[in-house]
Symmetry: C2
Subunit: 428 residues, 2 copies
């Protein structure tokens, strides 16, 4: 794309997530030509993805076309396409069917699942990063109850009603809580032969506690809350094997038709095409100004960036507020004169929160801790507020209000592959 | 499934569409054991499916789990599964992984696309019968604009912005109207390089007029309305060829990246396993009481049934109200004593309607004709009213209200296969 010799410099932002979009929006009035490249046509509000997986929300409730988000921003173009490689020296991106030259590049492609070297687990333990992931989880979860309803063998039926969630971070905690609520509250009356309230949800975490990124008291509270709801929480346990019949947790084999993966993440594959140093989690180690060492024109932000926080000596966490702060920091840098000093990025902790279930959440905001109903209300407000676009905000609030009143889950559709119950059965 | 010797007779209803569900609900208090078998887990409000295809509504807005619809009906079970064959003599259904014995069978599996002997057209001209169909149409339609935006060749770009809709019945009319509205009103500002208002939508109908099932004046009005909106309506034209580069209409080759099929339907394949006479459209020719001749225990209803209307001498149309009337008629028959006389089914024409666009529809109700805004308001009211479940009603009304105000389409997500723009390009 060289049809642009209008004198303005060209910044290409790869990834329309929280970081990439924040950067683009902060450059709306800057004297830059902006191109956003994403392999999906939509920005995804990932913190609510587990609600699509658990049939509370529809995909369109938590996603919006990137084009529409930036439609009023006349200096910005959007390209739907997958970046295959970055030629750092030539300042050129290679896509499947074209190349894009840049003056400055912002990589914000995020992270993907990591199975800790066990990629063979992936088909049996899907993760939750994209809308298609969420729809696949929803399909599997709903089919499990369908398969159980007509399963004559009690052991196989028990396996159909057993869910193992691997990973005790926010996604794992939220998924486990939502699963037990569906089974215990939303669907019992839909079935005639099985008692869905006997569903087992087992949350496995290798560490000492849940929600490792949050204060210890909140991780403990999350555990108590989940156990009160009926989740079997196993700390200091490792999953050592996963196949189509279940998982091995420590030394125990757990027959389960469904294992969901909410554990490891690794920087997106694009990072490995750069030829620059990565940390063990596949993230690009960047300088304090968020550029790759030796490449002042190459920024990396969001979950793909390994950034040391000079204030605390720790790594900036891979969460949406951090990504947005980095995006805005890069935009501020680009708005300066090219030869100006570049201030270092400083992470401002705006708080972390995780929801657990109806009326239950935990939140750490500005040194204060919240639990229970107060945290849950805070969580709801914050998440609705940040959902992009008024329409989405209004609909999500109504969906939640409705679900709260009637315990229904409105999006309980099995779509995708032809859903006959036979293909949901574990082949025991 | 023979674990049911409780003395009640067992009716199995295959198909949870309008006909099958109406039958099951009308038997809620009857002394029958009811099993509904469907290959999907949800009832689909098919008349609004085109709105999912055109990104106005989400799948969950127009579909609800069958289990949930009948959850309070204790004499009713739901089986998710595909019926492979009916053994009429043994009164037994064969599914992929089990068999189900019945005393009475109600077949309500509807119709599917027919490509008039040209099944090779199917991959290039997808139809619109299921949620997955609708999501595939949505994906193709949104990718067409993405591909056009960066297509350097003007002819290929023009093909990306050309849509051919085959079939001038309600689905074809509604689809054509929605397509031109998206292109002309919803998305122009999203794109930088193409002018989506130049999009061509060509509606091809072999007959003398649109909406053949409705009064002629309304078909004419639909044509005028569509042409006013910019649709190229071609009556008395046949599609003679379809491939990945476009369609041949009469003698003219129309380069088009997308051809959508809204023409022929044929009775679902299950009918052919019965060994009973079918009409040329693959529908089962039933007696006036809706049973298969010689089989008083075998009912066929809805789009799968070929029923003569004694009042008019015509065939009862394949629309939702007719299917629901047939379902209730069968239920009334089953509630009588087994040896009672069986009254013939009489179709009551409750009206037909089709929407065309913003403020435009046509409706024929009880001998009266409505067009324009009045018809459109009627259409909206009727469709919202019949949507099952309060939640859906409320959300659909809000979606429509919102779209009406801002011309937005809220569900413009490309999901499914990895959507890189390269795979949307016609391989010219």
């Amino acid at each position: 794309m060289s049809d642009s010799a209008d004198g303005r410099r060209h910044v290409v932002i790869v990834g329309g997530g929280f970081g990439g979009l924040a950067c683009a929006k902060a450059l709306a009035r800057a004297d830059w030509r902006i191109t956003i490249v994403d392999r999906e046509n939509h920005h995804l509000f990932q913190p609510l993805l587990y609600q699509v997986a658990t049939a509370v929300l529809s995909p369109a409730d938590i996603a919006a076309p990137i084009r529409t988000i930036v439609r009023r921003q006349r200096n910005t173009e959007v390209v739907l396409g997958q970046v295959v490689a970055v030629d750092v020296d030539a300042r050129r991106l290679r896509l499947a069917d074209r190349t894009i030259d840049y003056d400055t590049l912002v990589l914000a492609t995020g992270a993907t699942h990591s199975y800790f070297g066990h990629d063979e687990w992936q088909p049996h333990a899907p993760g939750l990063k994209t809308i298609d992931d969420a729809l696949e989880l929803r399909r599997r979860l709903l089919l499990a109850f369908e398969a159980a309803e007509y399963e004559p063998d009690p052991d196989t039926r028990r396996a159909c009603l057993t869910f193992v969630v691997v990973g005790g971070g926010p996604t794992g905690v939220e998924l486990a809580g939502a699963l037990i609520e569906i089974a215990a509250r939303s669907i019992p009356r839909d079935f005639r032969r099985i008692d869905t309230t006997t569903t087992k949800v087992i949350l496995v975490e290798a560490g000492e506690r849940l929600l490792g990124g949050m204060p210890a008291t909140l991780g403990d509270r999350a555990k108590t809350d989940l156990e009160h709801m009926g989740v079997d929480v196993r700390l200091r346990h490792r999953v050592t094997h996963i196949d189509e019949t279940g998982a091995v947790v420590g030394d125990e084999r757990i027959p389960a038709a469904n294992v969901f993966w909410a554990a490891g993440v690794t920087g997106s594959a694009l990072a490995r095409t750069l030829g620059v140093p990565l940390d063990p989690a596949g993230r690009v180690i960047v300088d304090p100004d968020l550029t790759v060492p030796g490449h002042p024109e190459l920024f990396v932000i969001g979950d793909l960036a390994h950034v040391e926080d000079p204030a605390t000596g720790t790594t900036v966490p891979g969460i949406a507020p951090a990504a947005m702060q980095m995006g805005r920091h890069v935009a501020a840098t680009l708005r300066r004169r090219p030869d100006a000093d570049r201030p270092p990025f400083r992470y401002r902790d705006t708080g972390t929160m995780a929801t657990i279930g109806r009326n239950r959440a935990v939140a750490a905001i500005g040194g204060r801790r919240f639990t229970g109903l107060v945290a849950w209300l805070l969580w709801s407000l914050v998440h609705v507020y940040f959902l992009i676009g008024f329409r989405r905000r209004m609909f999500v609030m109504l969906s939640w209000a409705w679900n709260y009143v009637v315990f229904a889950k409105g999006a309980r559709l099995i779509t995708g592959r032809p859903p006959t119950s036979s293909d949901a059965r574990p082949p025991t």
